[in-house]
């Protein structure tokens, strides 16, 4: 974990309001599902760092394990939704930006035998790429607003995972929510990895529970510190978990962002 100035290696529009930014990286190990926090401005407005999932890991040494060893770069895939991401999208290669990370616990490694299903909504696709890169198997179910958005899924081809797409307007793939695809795909021995808007995650959790499949979700909350100290990114978690961190609330940044879907109090989310 480090807080440091990284060089922006590139920053390109993918489609519409989606951008990819590549940053230099010191070689620190990265696990699929971890995230980083960026200070988008040296000024005081916006004040807080912004969190982004690690979308791509560059130059890592080939290992057989579940993590990326000694990468030289990381990439984020981000959508411009407000002033922080707007500033980010205006950055030029060569500029430097302060990066804190890698943060959080990342995806839980599946047992070999399991049938893996990744479910992503919109920019929730970001933390799936490192997972797909490691697993080189399974299915990716991706939900988007419309055909254009599905361009961001291109990075997944050739990784050995089966890709199925749903769009809100039916302009590509299945018309409707991505959970519609999941219902068809899921098996009791599936292990599901999901990231996207809260209502989508909740629906995924419900389907998983019904089918008996294990399900991990990557959550988003407004964050200030990213390292478990401000206690700002709390989510209500099941009381069955032992210890302080789970006595009512867990921190998305340090206890997550990945949680077993059965640990989350979905009604409070």
């Amino acid at each position: 974990m480090q807080s440091s100035q990284a060089a922006i290696l590139h920053n390109k529009k993918v489609v519409d309001d989606y951008f990819r930014m590549r940053l230099s990286w010191s070689g620190m190990e990265v696990r699929p599902g971890q995230f980083i926090m960026l200070r988008v401005s040296d000024g005081l407005d916006p004040l807080l760092r912004r969190p982004f999932g690690i979308y791509n890991v560059i130059g890592a040494k080939k290992t057989t394990g579940f993590s990326f060893k000694r990468p030289t770069g990381v990439e984020i895939l981000y959508r411009v939704v407000g002033k922080g991401t707007a500033i980010l999208s205006s950055k030029e290669p060569g500029e430097r930006i302060n990066v804190l990370g890698p943060l959080g616990n990342g995806w839980v490694e599946p047992e070999e035998a399991r049938n893996v299903i990744m479910v992503a909504g919109g920019v929730g696709l970001a933390p799936m790429l490192p997972l797909a890169q490691r697993l080189k198997a399974g299915a990716l179910l991706f939900g988007a607003r419309h055909k254009a958005d599905t361009k961001i899924v291109a990075g997944f081809s050739g990784l050995g995972c089966k890709i199925k797409i749903a769009t809100d307007d039916g302009s590509r793939g299945f018309k409707g929510f991505v959970t519609g695809l999941l219902a068809k795909e899921i098996k009791p021995d599936s292990v599901i990895y999901a990231c996207g808007p809260a209502p989508m995650l909740k629906a995924v959790a419900v389907i998983a529970l019904a089918s008996g499949a294990r399900c991990f979700v990557s959550l988003e909350r407004t964050m200030a510190c990213g390292i478990g100290v401000c206690l700002g990114c709390a989510v209500k978690t099941g009381a069955h978990k032992a210890g302080y961190e789970a006595d009512g609330f867990s921190m998305v940044c340090s206890d997550g962002p990945v949680f077993d879907s059965t640990d989350i109090d979905w009604d409070a989310l």
């Binding site: 480090q2 302060n98 964050m223 100290v229 401000c230 206690l231 709390a234 006595d247």
Partner: protein, 319 residues
């Protein structure tokens, strides 16, 4: 290549002496503390900063029993600031002593425990328990909390209640006692006098200022708790003003808190009569922020050939 952001500047010996200050009998190597609730229990920052370059570490506010805190969302960004309604979630004093103090005791940096309760007795008990445990250099009493026995009015906005709670602590323990004041009063001097009469050894000002942010699309408050505490650079001019006002009646040292990001900000407080300062929200922007502030103060002292002690209250009103 990513480079470590840690400042390479070393604080040399003479410069180090220039930084020393004394607060409530505590010798601090420099005037920079970490503000309660923004630095966890210290250990979380070990990967990012040198904890032994800090003047003191103030830990997250402790209560007798562990507390779950408020529902989420708990934080929201504001212009040059943030609002928080954590609800004082903490592990409770026993777990702190058992699990967190071990690490902290090993540091050469003094550790200050921030405490809060719902009754006067809560405060006293907390103080006794922490003094018994050992390894805590001082107590900081957070009185910006509702007094459940008095209909929920904050201890910190009523001089009589503030006097009671501070007296209870100062008479119970020998540890130095710092009282942290709420800015939410008509006249801060009234509160300063009250807690001073109650025997506090130092005063921290200010705690966060109550604020509200509305989500206009959803037509509801951004925070589940509706109201949160405003911190960050936005409040700095208010905090500096309160330190300056407090000084007109204060006989004990003042500790400035509110919006300190840089050494320059810290020096504003010091020149306006703070003997030490606390870095809060800035720790979220940069986990090495507090040490950088200390390094920056050292640079200022060198340039101005002055010791921090001699800078305290160094602001001269214009002719």
């Amino acid at each position: 290549m990513i480079k470590k952001a840690k400042p390479k500047v070393k604080i040399d010996k003479k410069a180090a002496l220039a930084l020393e200050v004394e607060i409530a009998g505590l010798e601090l190597r420099n005037p920079v503390m970490t503000a309660s609730g923004t630095f966890g229990y210290g250990s979380e920052f070990a990967p990012y900063t040198d904890l032994e370059k800090l003047g003191a570490i103030i830990v997250k506010g402790l209560s007798l029993k562990p507390r779950h805190g408020n529902p989420s969302p708990r934080i929201v960004e504001t212009p040059c600031g943030m609002l928080n309604a954590i609800g004082l979630q903490n592990v409770g004093v026993e777990a702190f002593i058992k699990n967190k103090l071990l690490f902290l005791r090993k540091l050469k940096t003094p550790v200050i425990a921030n405490i809060f309760g719902e009754t006067v007795d809560d405060y006293r008990e907390l103080a006794l328990r922490l003094e018994d445990a050992g390894g805590v250099a001082a107590l900081e009493i957070n009185i910006s909390c509702p007094n459940v026995k008095k209909g929920g009015i904050a201890f910190g906005t009523d001089p009589v209640e503030a006097h009671k709670v501070v007296s209870a602590v100062t008479s119970a323990v020998r540890l130095p006692v710092i009282t942290k004041l709420s800015p939410n009063v008509t006249d801060i001097r009234v509160m300063v006098r009250a807690v001073q009469d109650a025997g506090t050894n130092a005063i921290t000002l200010i705690n966060t200022i109550p604020g509200l942010v509305v989500d206009v699309e959803k037509r509801r408050p951004m925070l589940a708790n509706v109201i949160g505490g405003l911190s960050g650079p936005a409040i700095r001019p208010i905090a500096v003003r309160m330190v300056w006002e407090a000084k007109s009646v204060a006989k004990v040292p003042l500790i400035g808190s509110g919006g300190i990001i840089s050494a320059n900000d810290a020096l504003e407080f010091i020149l306006a009569w703070a003997t030490a300062v606390q870095v809060g929200t800035a720790n979220f922007l940069d986990p090495d922020a507090a040490v950088k502030v200390a390094v920056g103060i050292a640079g200022y002292c060198k340039r101005h050939n002055a010791a921090v002690k001699s800078l305290v209250g160094g602001m001269k009103a214009r002719e």
